[in-house]
Symmetry: C2
Subunit: 243 residues, 2 copies
């Protein structure tokens, strides 16, 4: 893969239960020219079996980042993609892995983007709460009869398609966007909720739904740094005014 | 997958050494809507590990065909594709798995085609002799740095791409071709060599090269049944004439 490309993309496994799978994922990542593997709370330690199945990708395994929580894993990211073998009922921006929009492709290729592609647990995937913390849902097309792929196979297919995007010179790299990280979004949400409470618009006890909807809205807008500055300034002004 | 499609495609593993891999292949085949797994001389029996890794594709594993030899596996086939993680030096019709020609796509979709996709040994792939018995070589694009994929991962990627061909209504099904099986080609080769010996064109002791080149030529032409009839008739006439 062309080294000039942004390959700063992290493949994140959430609570994988089979150590062998983790090794197979490391190998798949390296086969496709990527480098970064991360794991949220592995349910088993990385065993000999993992190293055996990683074959010549032991370096990927050795350098794997371990996160204490899902939130920690996505904190610094500004493009978070969740994978799933089936379409969910949650209305969310969703693409088949081989039909990702040109806009998202351009972002993936940008050096300004800190991307994560997230893979759920072998037994029950990602929770709805986790899915709603991601910007985009990716669906792997499968047979209707049997849609549940092995974890490392799912990662292999996704990495294969993402690699194509990086190598496709027809996809323009989106350089203009300077999107904020997930952590900055979380801070905006806190700030906004504080303001809403202060102006008596929102009672955390009675309307948990309001916070959820605003959280989703912030995810969808995908603010850049300048927009974030304006919004935070606006919120601070309201807080001052109320005093 | 649409049942009207030709899904009579056999995924053939040549001498796989890891039973777990066989199970993972069965699962990948079913995930992509296919049904047929075959194995040429498995180096280990199909163990509990294979069934464990097949998960809900145990039926694919139970119905797997076991062949005694590579030649037996391809005998009845008339479209034989070999997979490889890298481009070979042998000059042969070769496609990346996501850039298969429209002609071959059309054949794959035809009910007249008996297709096989062949996967080599985990440790050293397919031999040159085996590769030359296939019509088409398929290459999986990978990183230059580390091109060797896990067997079941390779199969997963190939099955994913072949499934797209079946589901793509823009690919016209090639119905006009009625290609002969590999066994019929072998018989033609024997017949031809017999004639060449008879007319003193060919001495099997001194020119083994001639036979290899003719074998390759027959593979490349991909005769249909009518052409085969004409050629065999022509050869029989020469034999009679020489008497």
């Amino acid at each position: 893969m062309n080294k000039k490309n942004n390959i700063d993309i992290e493949f994140i496994l959430v609570e994988p239960s089979h150590s062998g799978n983790i090794g197979a994922c490391a190998r798949a990542i390296k086969n496709m020219g990527f480098e970064k593997l991360a794991i949220v709370k592995p349910r088993k330690t990385i065993t000999e079996e993992a190293f055996h199945r990683a074959k010549s990708a032991k370096d990927i395994l050795e350098n794997a980042v371990i996160y204490e929580s899902f939130d920690q894993a996505i904190e610094e990211k500004n493009l978070i993609l969740a994978t799933s073998a089936r379409e969910r009922t949650i209305p969310w921006p969703t693409f088949y892995i081989d039909e990702i929009s040109e806009e998202i492709k351009g972002e993936l290729k940008s050096e300004k983007t800190k991307s994560a592609i997230i893979f759920g647990r072998e037994d029950n995937g990602l929770s709805n709460e986790e899915l709603q913390k991601c910007h985009i849902h990716l669906v792997i097309p499968t047979s209707d009869e049997y849609s549940s792929l092995n974890l490392s196979h799912a990662l292999q297919l996704v990495a294969f398609e993402i690699r194509k995007i990086y190598l496709d010179n027809n996809v323009p790299i989106s350089e203009e966007k300077d999107l904020v990280s997930n952590l900055e979004n979380e801070k905006l949400l806190e700030h906004l909720m504080e303001v809403l409470k202060k102006i008596d618009f929102y009672d955390p006890k009675s309307s948990k739904q309001v916070k959820t909807r605003i959280e989703r809205l912030i995810k969808k807008i995908r603010l850049d740094k300048m927009e974030m500055g304006i919004l935070r300034g606006f919120l601070s002004k309201i807080m001052d005014f109320e005093k």
